[in-house]
């Protein structure tokens, strides 16, 4: 009986993990196609880039201004 219950528990865990995986894949696919995909396509239509992808031989430098220094204490409690 004990081994049956243990086996049942193990099987049910495996089943729930697989269900979670399927749900994850379905939901994430939906988010990727609808959220990321449409935004990306619209952005590309307007020539918007989210990262600097290309080399620019004419540029003298690739450095970008950062000026990261001590800020107000409140800003450090934010995750962004």
């Amino acid at each position: 009986m004990k081994s049956f219950l243990l086996g049942f528990k193990k099987g049910f865990k495996l089943f729930s993990e697989n269900i979670a995986l399927i749900v994850n894949v379905v939901l994430l696919t939906f988010v990727y196609v609808i959220g990321i995909g449409i935004t990306s396509l619209v952005a590309k239509l307007f020539g918007k880039h989210f990262m600097a992808m290309r080399l620019d031989k004419k540029k003298k430098t690739y450095w970008e201004k950062l000026e990261l220094k001590k800020e107000s204490m409140d800003s450090y409690y934010r995750q962004f």
Partner: protein
């Protein structure tokens, strides 16, 4: 006042505890969980830090984290937006960990530590900059941070003065020297974020001449380097920005073959590719540093980020740039940011005077004589007890001089990836077979990789063509220098194929027993230099506890273990069934 710094969820998670401006404890999680480069929440490391001071989380005034998770997530989303639909697979594989773990770090810290106050989030490269400037000996210094990637930044420069740091400019993802190095590491069949140092060790076997190395000009095609050292990668050679692999097919074509399989025997071609990568890396960093000197006009420079662990180049910096002084902390890559976070909160944000200089790396767990004895007795291990430190020093030096391999376990475990005389394996560099013996019986690692020498700081200039005076990062095994020609044949096991050695210098104040053994060894052999390699086998983290040390000795060919004031002979104890060979992996 206590401040706790935490880094985790990428690789080498760690924790560091600061007390009134001084780092009193720091360790990486891998040493406790025994999973190399463990990236999980560093609960064991935090527990050690708090226990070492006899405090609880309630006594900690501030907790800080080594990056801004939402900024990093913004970058990850930007990658998917830019690379749609190519990034679909990585979106599926990486998003759950972001939603379940990385974006919930505040909740995790509160839940796991039962910490009720706010957590401070310091930007990744600021944490790197703070980790190297604030514990450095300099009042004012130029700062260069170079790693794979933080939130967006991959490379940044700035200036530290007194308590303050300003990072003026940066280069942003996907353009990264760290990721270029990792890409070629992957191409050569080694693991990323783990084996970059192996590629560095492989490079001297290749052609280190830009004119004749067949791959140097090819690799220069994948990166556009400006006169000021700023750079961008030609992304057609890479796929790391949308896939879970790194080199593209175009890169494979450029380098003349497919990605090498793990444990492939390295041929001349692989060696030349490694050499070309080292040449390109050195070219970029030299230009960056010359330009940094022009901008800051400062004599001292401090470095941080994984690329600052490139000890081969570190050893050339003072000769190839106008900087006169250099400092790098022993744990320069991501694992080291936890001390940066703690120091930045205390020194910069709370504006408290800097009182700390990181002189030695022994910030990890230590064990009292009584604790070690209890372990030995409890496990019925046969041992002898040294009557005095003098006997310990004499016996150990004699054992090493007579070509025995000795495990050395003393003091607090080292902070950072290098064993520096607290969790070390010692052997004689005078024995030409020591390298093969260590590789085959103990370390199980690739034959091309050299072993490192340790020498007393006051003897270093006799045996190595080091900068004068010997820079402090040499104490942390972060500088490679040529071995003086006339000594190369005397210490073959630590002289690399190009005549260099990745030396560690030791000052008596840092570790008196270790220093004294070197001097005693010198009296026996005429050369006060020993092999110092990390106390582990390939694929395992460096040992932390007496149990780890004993287990490692019994599963390998280490002859003796000197642990605190006890001597354990392998042959005097029943052989464990534990076979280190099965654990020997990348």
């Amino acid at each position: 006042m206590y401040v706790l710094g935490i880094s985790c969820y990428y690789h080498d998670s760690s924790a560091a505890l600061l007390k009134d401006g001084v780092i009193v404890a720091a360790a990486e999680e891998e040493r406790f969980t025994r999973k190399k480069h463990d990236s999980s929440f560093p609960l064991n490391a935090i527990t050690y830090c708090l226990k070492s001071q006899g405090i609880t989380i309630k006594d900690v005034a501030h907790v800080g984290f080594y990056e801004k998770p939402f900024l990093k997530f913004e970058r990850v989303l930007s990658q998917h937006l830019e690379m749609f639909p190519k990034s679909f697979k990585t979106f599926l594989s990486s998003t759950p960990s972001w939603l379940n773990e990385k974006l919930r770090v505040l909740r995790t810290i509160r839940k796991k530590l039962k910490y009720t106050r706010g957590v401070m989030f310091i930007q990744h490269h600021m944490a790197h900059a703070a980790s190297t400037f604030l514990p450095s000996p300099y009042e004012k210094a130029a700062i260069l941070t170079i790693d794979g990637v933080g939130e967006w930044t991959t490379t940044a420069w700035g200036v530290g003065e007194g308590n303050n740091i300003v990072l003026h400019e940066d280069i942003r993802f996907p353009h990264s020297i760290g990721l270029l190095y990792s890409t070629i590491t992957a191409y050569l069949g080694f693991s990323v974020n783990n084996s970059e140092y192996k590629v560095m060790g492989l490079a001297p076997y290749g052609d280190m001449n830009r004119e004749t190395n067949p791959f140097y000009k090819k690799l220069r095609k994948v990166i556009d380097i400006k006169e000021d050292g700023s750079f961008r990668l030609d992304l057609s050679y890479f796929i790391f920005h949308y896939a879970d692999r790194m080199p593209s097919k175009k890169m494979c074509k450029l380098l003349g073959g497919p990605i090498a399989k793990r444990d492939t025997t390295m041929t001349k071609r692989h060696q030349d590719i490694a050499a070309a990568l080292q040449l390109v890396t050195e070219e970029v960093i030299t230009k960056l540093l010359i330009s940094l000197h022009k901008k800051t006009k400062l004599d001292s420079v401090v470095l941080a980020g994984g690329v600052a662990l490139n000890s081969v180049y570190n050893g050339k910096i003072l000769r190839s740039t106008p900087f006169k002084n250099i400092w790098v902390q022993p744990n320069a890559s991501d694992g080291g940011t936890s001390i940066g976070v703690a120091l930045y909160i205390y020194n910069t944000l709370l504006n408290k005077k800097r009182v700390y200089h990181l002189h030695d790396a022994y910030l990890g767990p230590s064990y009292t004589t009584a604790q070690v004895k209890r372990f030995l007795d409890k496990n019925k291990i046969n041992y002898t007890t040294f009557a005095s430190d003098k006997e310990l020093v004499e016996t150990t030096a004699k054992l090493v001089a007579t070509n025995h391999v000795v495990g050395w376990f003393q003091k607090g475990m080292e902070w950072g990836p290098r064993a520096l005389g607290a969790r070390s394996i010692l052997a004689s560099p005078c024995n030409p077979e020591a390298k093969e013996l260590l590789n085959e019986k103990v370390k199980h690692r690739e034959k091309f990789r050299p072993f490192a020498p340790v020498v007393c700081e006051d003897d270093a200039l006799t045996y190595f063509e080091s900068d004068k005076p010997v820079p402090e990062p040499t104490d942390f095994m972060l500088m490679v220098y040529p071995v003086v020609k006339k000594w190369r044949t005397a210490i073959p096991s630590v002289t690399h194929v190009d005549g260099s050695g990745r030396l560690q210098t030791i000052r008596r104040a840092q570790n008196p027993l270790y220093y004294d053994i070197l001097k005693a060894f010198g009296k026996h052999t005429g050369v006060p230099i020993m092999i110092n390699t990390s106390f582990n086998i390939r694929g395992e983290p460096i040992v932390c506890s007496p149990y780890d040390a004993y287990k490692c000795m019994m599963g390998t060919g280490i002859d003796y273990l000197v642990m605190d004031k006890f001597l354990i002979k392998r042959d005097d104890n029943p052989q464990d069934k534990w076979d280190s060979e099965q654990y020997a992996k990348d």
